[in-house]
């Protein structure tokens, strides 16, 4: 039993380290900033973490495949805007509207996958291009106005809680669990890890690498679809640019959670921890009354440092 725990600890050392870091930072922030992490602040931390967390789960799949999805901000904005403008506060066709949003986001993911896997466009370029295309398209279609408010059913869903736990948080945990099962118990997950570790060998082994890659981008675009709907529900409305601040946050969360930016490793439990660290840091900086620009600078630094740490680990591994 102890032997098994030891082995488990050894294998998931980075993840344990992430949780430790999150807890240490949380306690430190509690001591430095009065009122941090107690009472209602816990709830607001949970809500914010959930939104980033759901998207980071999608990002995890793409990062394991060795890529990155930078089209999330405007996929998410598009999802939120579609919800408010199509429903116009009414609950009548809400199921159909949600299905339509999921379908459209699937198409976005497929296009990303097509570009990366079949046309061999570098993932960063392809998805950033897609982000820009979505932004332009939405601005043209809506002519600058977002139109409409969120329907009541979605507002209730996004702001309610169950047994004192915010619904959003429950969503996050459930999706995280589903992602974990998909990654570690499905044939798809095995193929995804194989491809991320060594694409050539995976291909020689008969894995349809292009399909598997494309699927990762589809999964990763469904995450902002869901987040967009929930975010609109939480705010009661949508606005253009509501996803912009998420551009790198999801990648930071995944990499902080122990995934290698080169692909081939990562887990939803790790990403969960990474999201926690990120949110604690972010809200600590906000409560320390730092201007947003300073926060952006620090976010950038955290991303770079995390990538250095993780790729350092990777280099050592490759050498052996």
């Amino acid at each position: 039993m102890i032997e098994r725990l030891k082995k488990n600890y050894y294998r998931n050392k980075t993840i344990y380290f992430c949780y430790m870091a999150a807890i240490v930072m949380y306690v430190a922030a509690m001591i430095i900033v009065p009122g941090f992490g107690v009472g209602t602040h816990v709830r607001s931390l949970m809500l914010e973490a959930s939104l980033i967390g759901i998207m980071a789960l999608g990002q995890t799949f793409v990062i394991i495949s060795g890529g990155a999805d930078l089209s999330m901000p405007w996929t998410m904005t598009g999802s939120a805007v579609l919800l408010t403008s199509l429903s116009n506060q009414k609950d009548d066709n809400i199921i159909w509207i949600i299905l339509l949003i999921l379908a459209l986001c699937t198409i976005v993911g497929m296009l990303n996958g097509l570009g990366v896997a079949y046309l061999k466009i570098p993932p960063m370029i392809m998805t950033l291009g897609m982000n820009s295309i979505l932004q332009g398209a939405l601005l043209v279609v809506l002519r600058g106005s977002t139109g409409g408010l969120a329907p009541q059913s979605i507002i209730n869903l996004a702001t309610g809680s169950l047994l004192g736990i915010p619904n959003l948080f429950i969503f996050w945990i459930t999706l995280g669990f589903a992602a974990s099962v998909l990654l570690h118990y499905s044939t798809y997950g095995h193929k995804l890890f194989a491809l991320g570790n060594n694409e050539k060998a995976a291909y020689f082994t008969g894995i349809r690498v292009k399909r598997v890659k494309m699927m990762a981008y589809v999964i990763s675009s469904l995450a902002p679809a869901i987040t967009g709907i929930l975010y609109a529900g939480r705010l009661g409305q949508s606005y253009l640019g509501m996803g912009d601040s998420f551009l790198f946050l999801t990648i930071i969360a995944v990499v902080l959670g122990g995934a290698s930016p080169m692909g081939g490793s990562g887990s939803s439990i790790g990403t969960f921890a990474g999201t926690c660290i990120l949110i604690v840091l972010k809200s600590f900086l906000a409560s320390a009354n730092l201007p947003t620009s300073a926060q952006d600078i620090l976010n950038g630094i955290v991303l770079i440092v995390a990538i250095i740490l993780m790729s350092g680990k990777n280099r050592k591994r490759d050498r052996l």
């Binding site: 499905s186 044939t187 095995h190 060998a201 291909y203 020689f204 082994t205 008969g206 349809r208 591994r317």
Partner: protein
Amino acid sequence: MSGFVVKKISKSFGAVKALDEVNFSAEHGEIHAILGENGAGKSTLIKILSGVQQADEGTITLNGKELRFKSPKEALACGIGTVFQELSLMQDLTVAQNIFFEHYPKSKGIIIDKKLLREKALELFQKYDIMDIDPDIRTNQLSLSQQQMVEIIKVISREPSIIILDEATSALTQNRVHWLLDLARKLADKNKMILFISHRLQETRQNCDRVTVLRNGRDVGVRTLNEVDNDELVSLMIGRKLSAYFPEWKPMASEQPQLEAKSLTIDKYLNNVTFTLRKGEVLGVGGLAGQGQVPLFLALAGIRHATGEIMLDGRKIVLRNPGDALENGITLIPEDRSTEGLIQTMSIRINLLLPSLSIFSKWGFLNRKQSERAIEEAIERLEIKMGSSDDMVMSLSGGNQQKVLISKYLMLNPKVFLMLDPTRGVDVGTKSEMFRLVRKLAEEGNSVLFYSTDLSELTGICDRVMVMYDNSVFDTLVGEEITKENILKASVGESIRITQ
């Protein structure tokens, strides 16, 4: 004390003791061979001597001075240069850039002086008799054999006093093997020490001065090579007498064709290749390196697209990718185990499972019980030696890695095996096991297309041998015709038949 002395080196991986107080010494001007079976501890010893891993206990001294190093770079600074079994060249850099990667020649300013680099590289090539490599060519345009030469020059250019050649000949073609062996002797004459690790017994015998034999993580003997015969060496290595190297076998091939290729052609790489592989047959593929053998195998495995027809059991099949080939029961054991065959950074378990995922799953989810049982069976079937199936593939020795590679396809029960030099970088014991396996697969009614750079393997286990020359089939030898001389003759495009 002069020379290189390794004293009581031990190294454990978890519960497995890879090296147990190994002693070893070499002198200046000597080519010293290290022999040992699969898993005897050779790779671990090399990794420690080259700085890739650190010993748990023991000392390494050079001319009386104790050496301590924690990385290949530090080892090199101490005078130990290692040519690794797996190539480490950067594929997108030029040959010259690779050679001088860690010690660019001084030039004015901070910009790399390409001309100077080229000159320096050419100087080295001239010094070490390399004629056929342009220093400015990108490394990925070189053949495996040429890359190995560059790798060797890269290490020698740092002028280490001890040069470790770890299976350095296995990626070389025949004439280049001679080049390397001559080079090693030249360096030894200049008072360097060469540690030579090879699975080819003959080669070791002919070119080395002394040999240290390892078995089960211990050193079991040092011999002077011209005072010891092969049988003694082999029994030292395996601790008992070796039964016949090649298995006894009877031709079992039926007349029924299994796989037929009709005028397969890939522009510039493969020219109108037609042949039939019968059920229960081992069809050898010979010829000098680079005569279209690799493209032929890749085309049959669905990796490269060729025009022409491929028939399986008399039915035409279309192979767009390796997945299609696997579904048709055609498997490829690729040439480069570490980049094409296995995923080094994943566990043995997952590597074994990857091709047969769909067999052991329902609704896209893995059936643990079923798959674990199949993995255990696969490990037992080929007697893969390892700590745990959760260990990474790269922790295994070359021979055991090769077994994992073959096992993962055996789990699929395929009909056709395409084996591209499957004994490359594998020790004598495993080689012999592999020959038995190949014959057994044929006996069970499968067919094997077997490419080897070692002529004795082609004469030893093949029903027929197809010799390729200039990207097409030059001749197919049958029965009594299969001799080393005939294969060699056909390899250079000379007919073995009397013209009528």
